[in-house]
Every structure is written in structure tokens, then in C-alpha cells.
């Protein structure tokens, strides 16, 4: 597949929830195989923007979406879009890890199974591969059959990452994925992101500026539903062009 366009391209996106105009005229190209962070004060719309990428807002009746989100050149809000296939292209890490109510093994195998992999050998390989990729294999290889909820919260989040990777997405979406974790687990997740960015396009929502600086190649600063500034990390954080960005980076607005 060759595309001129990036994996994710947003054009004139507007989101209303009830009477609130949450996102205003968003246009954005997410750089491929890089880490892009959305930063901004809480309530600015950064999580909403993230969730428009795989149509997770659809479930709420109050939400109205205008504009286009192109994933691999296809408008995901167009007619006849096969939502499940589209969503599969993106793995999601939420604020709190949420293991599915089943064993460690079945959590990883869940995605491949629903998409048609039945052969035990193949599944075993997949499970081991992604548990290794997230550094969990050595920790859990003796208790693959035990419930995933028995893992520590940091391990759970890595399990969720492995589960997302197992359906072979192109994109990883992280909605403040370390906010529930202790410093050590946070560090492990961050290391994983840095390892994964060679192969995946990663979009992170974070409210921790230092995390954004440590991880991201690009930064999008969002304020009151609008993109104020978008550029390489160093530029946005060290030499912001906009007054609002400067004030946010210095901690005047939060």
C-alpha cells in the first residue's frame, strides 16, 4: 500500500455534544511512525479528538460530528464504512487498564479469535509473541490461564497494550495511558512506546508536559476545542509561536 496521505488525516472536524461545541474546525495530519502528543488543559477536547479517530463517540446519541477523518485515505464517517475493520486498525489504551473478564491468554487471543484465527498453535504463537513484545512473557508464562484481573495494575496496562497489538493495528491511541500507574510502571510503558514507534503511528493524550517531552516527536496544543499550535516537540515546548501555548507551557493556564 502506498499512500500520499498519512494514516490519519483530519479535515474540518467539528464535534458537538448536546449544545456544547467541543471541537472546532480541526484539521490535522498525524505523522506516520512517530509519536504525536495532544496536550492542553483538562476539558479542552483532546480525549474527544482521540476518540473520533476510531468512532468511539458514536455510542452517544447527543454527539454530532461534522467534517472528515481519513484513515488510510478513507473517510471513516462516510457511508458504507465497515466500522469494525476500521477500528481494528487502531489499538486503544485507556486511562485505567481494563482487562476483559477472562484469562491472561484469552485476553490476548480475544482479538485474533474474533477475527477468525482458530488454530491453537497459531494462537499460542501470537500470545507468546505479543507478551514478549510488551515484556510480560517472563512474568506471566507460568500462569497464562489465571484471570487477568489478578495482575498488578502496571502489568494489566501492558497486557492491554499486548492485546491491542495482537490484532495487528497500524496505529496506537493512548488516552493518558499512564495516569493510573506508579512511576516504575509508567517508565516501562514509556519505554515500550519508544520501542514501538518504529512500526506504529502513536497518538497520545497526556496532561504531563514532561511525559510529552520525553516521548513525542510532535506536539499538538489544544485549547477550548481548537488547535492552537502543532509542530515538532522542541519547537512547541521551547519556542512556542503562540501566546496561549507559552502561557500553558509555563504553567499559567492549566
Amino acid at each position: 500500500m502506498t499512500f500520499e496521505a498519512p494514516h490519519i488525516r483530519v479535515q474540518d472536524l467539528n464535534v458537538h455534544i448536546g449544545d456544547h461545541h467541543i471541537l472546532k474546525n480541526i484539521s490535522l495530519d498525524i505523522p506516520d511512525k512517530k509519536i504525536t502528543s495532544f496536550i492542553g488543559p483538562s476539558g479542552c477536547g483532546k480525549t474527544t479528538l482521540l476518540k473520533t479517530f476510531n468512532r468511539l463517540l458514536d455510542r452517544n446519541k447527543e454527539v454530532r460530528i461534522g467534517g472528515r477523518v481519513l484513515v488510510d485515505g478513507e473517510d471513516i464517517y462516510g457511508k458504507d464504512v465497515e466500522v469494525t475493520g476500521m477500528r481494528r486498525k487502531m489499538g486503544l489504551l485507556s486511562q485505567r487498564p481494563f482487562p476483559l473478564p477472562m484469562s491472561i491468554y484469552d485476553n490476548i487471543a480475544y482479538g485474533p479469535r474474533i477475527h477468525g484465527t482458530r488454530r491453537k498453535k497459531e494462537l499460542n504463537g501470537t500470545v507468546e509473541h505479543y507478551l514478549r513484545a510488551t515484556g510480560l512473557w517472563e512474568e506471566v508464562k507460568d500462569r497464562l490461564g489465571s484471570p487477568a484481573t489478578r495482575l498488578s495494575i502496571g502489568q494489566q496496562q501492558r497486557l492491554c497494550l499486548a492485546r491491542g497489538l495482537a490484532v495487528e493495528p497500524e496505529i496506537i491511541l493512548g488516552d493518558e495511558p499512564t495516569s493510573a500507574l506508579d512511576p516504575l510502571s509508567t517508565q516501562r510503558i514509556e519505554e515500550l512506546f519508544l520501542q514501538l514507534k518504529d512500526r506504529y503511528t502513536i497518538v497520545l493524550v497526556t496532561h504531563i508536559l514532561r511525559q510529552a517531552r520525553r516521548l513525542s516527536d510532535y506536539i499538538v496544543f489544544i485549547y477550548m476545542g481548537e488547535i492552537i499550535e502543532f509542530g515538532p516537540t522542541e519547537e512547541v515546548l521551547l519556542d512556542p509561536k503562540e501566546r496561549l501555548t507559552r502561557e500553558y507551557v509555563k504553567g499559567y493556564i492549566s
Binding site: N54, L56, D58, R59, N60, K61, E62, T84, G85, R87, R88, M90, G91, L92, S94, R96, F98, L100, P101, M102, Y110, G111, I114, H115, C160, R163, G164, V167, L173
Partner: protein, 280 residues
């Protein structure tokens, strides 16, 4: 009256009320237990009514115990068959804030309050309309109507409390709503168990709905189209007898029924801390 006096007076009244209410409830359990325990024999639970049963001769209530069991199991299964799709529709398929979901929830709250005698009468009209006689099947169908609101409301309450992350996660993996439903059921398994136990407790103890529809017989129900005896009706009929031995059996049966229902309630409590919707 001074402020302090008033406060003290009402506190005393409140303590009294609490004592009266708890006391009367304990008294019920005590009455049933003390009167029933003498009448409780192996014969009562293991044998069918024999000749002269209703003038105090031998036999037991196996017909009613098994009849109640059949009706409870049958109606709970049938009720689940209808209630599970409904709660999945409300919590997985329909969108948040959907008008239909609000209407459905309201309707179930209202249906929950309809007394079983009305369901019984309705079941009876349907039965007559279809040309059926009082039978196990008619009893099961009618009791199902009684417990569908209980099942639906209890399961709905558990599912509504399931965090949105669950469906976010399954959808992100490319799951369909149907596949998400299966994960939902697994996540809510303890809550579903609670709902089943609550509904069974109601099904086994309800008399007014089976009075018209299930009939009564001294035999075991051989098929769905034959009448079936039930425990509540066994208690009801035998208590109205003037013969002491027969009345005693009613007390024994009352103890059995109470024990079964309390067992259900206690296990329901074990599966879920407290479902507020099971009672109101």
C-alpha cells in the same frame, strides 16, 4: 417544648419504630420456624399425597415441591430468554441517551409493580382464548410474565454500572456489538446470578399467578399440558382445613418454602453487595 426535649422524644420514637419493625419481622420467622419444625418430617418432603391425605392420613407434599420446582426452573429459563436480549439491547446495542431505552426502563419499572393476581387473570384469559386448561405450561408462562421485570431490572442495573472502558476496549479490537455482548455477559455474570436468584425466589413463592393457571393435583406433573401442584397453594389449601393434622402440614410446608426463599435471598446477597432495584 424545648428543642432538646423534642429531639430526644423523636429519637426515642425512631428507636421504638425500628424495634417494632425488626421485631415483627423476627416474629414472623420465629412463628414459622417454631410451628413448622414439629410438622417437618421426611414423609412430608419425600412422598405423594395418599388416600385420605386431606383428612389427616399419610403422605407428603412431593407433588407440590416438585411442581414448584418445575415452574420455578421453567419460568426462570423462559424469563432469561426474553430478559437477556432486552438488557443487552439497552446496554450494548442502543446508543447512550436513547429515548427508547428510557421508555423501556420506565415500562419495566411500572410492570414490576403490577400485582401477580393481574398477571394471573391475564394468563387465564389467554389460556381460555387458546382453549387450554390449567397446566404446568400455563403456570410457567404466567409466572414468566411476573418475573421478567425482576430479571430485566436487576440485570440492567448491573450492566449500567459496567464501566464504558469495557466496550471501548472490545470495539477497539474490532469486535461487533454481538461479540461485545458476550463479553458483557461474562463481565456481569455475578449480577446475572443475583438476578436469577431473586427471580427464582419470587417464582417459587408466588401464589396468585399460579392459582388460575397451574391448577392443582395430587400427582406429579407428567407433561407440560397437565396441571401441577405448587407449594404456596399447598400451604394455602391445607391451612383452610379444619383438621389439625392437615393444618400442621401447612406449617411444615411454610417452613420449607421460607427456608428455600431465604436460601435464595442469602445467596443473591452473596453474589452482589446490594442491588437497590430488587425491591423497589
Amino acid at each position: 417544648m424545648s428543642r432538646k426535649f423534642k429531639a430526644a422524644l423523636f429519637k426515642i420514637l425512631m428507636i421504638l419504630s425500628t424495634l417494632i419493625i425488626s421485631g415483627s419481622l423476627i416474629l414472623i420467622l420465629w412463628t414459622i420456624a417454631s410451628r413448622g419444625v414439629h410438622a417437618l418430617t421426611w414423609e412430608l418432603v419425600s412422598r405423594l399425597p395418599e388416600g385420605g391425605f386431606y383428612i389427616g392420613k399419610g403422605g407428603g407434599l412431593l407433588n407440590a415441591i416438585l411442581g414448584s420446582l418445575y415452574i420455578t426452573v421453567g419460568s426462570t429459563l423462559l424469563g432469561l430468554l426474553i430478559a437477556v436480549p432486552v438488557v443487552l439491547y439497552l446496554n450494548v446495542y442502543s446508543r447512550e441517551g436513547s429515548r427508547l431505552a428510557t421508555v423501556v426502563r420506565f415500562t419495566f419499572d411500572v410492570l414490576f409493580g403490577i400485582p401477580s393476581i393481574v398477571y394471573g387473570a391475564f394468563g387465564f384469559t389467554i389460556m381460555v382464548w387458546l382453549g387450554l386448561r390449567a397446566s404446568l405450561l400455563a403456570g410457567i408462562v404466567t409466572v414468566t410474565l411476573v418475573i421478567i421485570p425482576i430479571l430485566a431490572r436487576a440485570m440492567d442495573e448491573v450492566m449500567r454500572r459496567t464501566p464504558g472502558e469495557l466496550s471501548d476496549q472490545t470495539y477497539s479490537l474490532g469486535a461487533t456489538r454481538w461479540e461485545t455482548s458476550l463479553v458483557f455477559l461474562r463481565q456481569c455474570a455475578p449480577g446475572i446470578m443475583t438476578a436469577i436468584l431473586l427471580a427464582s425466589g419470587r417464582a417459587i413463592g408466588d401464589a396468585a399467578s399460579v392459582l388460575f393457571t397451574a391448577g392443582y393435583t395430587d400427582n406429579l406433573p407428567g407433561s407440560l399440558t397437565q396441571p401441577a401442584a405448587t407449594l404456596p397453594l399447598a400451604i394455602f389449601f391445607q391451612l383452610s382445613s379444619p383438621i389439625a393434622e392437615v393444618q400442621d402440614r401447612a406449617y411444615g410446608a411454610a417452613l420449607i418454602l421460607t427456608a428455600i426463599v431465604l436460601l435464595f435471598s442469602l445467596s443473591a446477597h452473596y453474589f452482589s453487595k446490594r442491588l437497590s432495584k430488587n425491591k423497589i
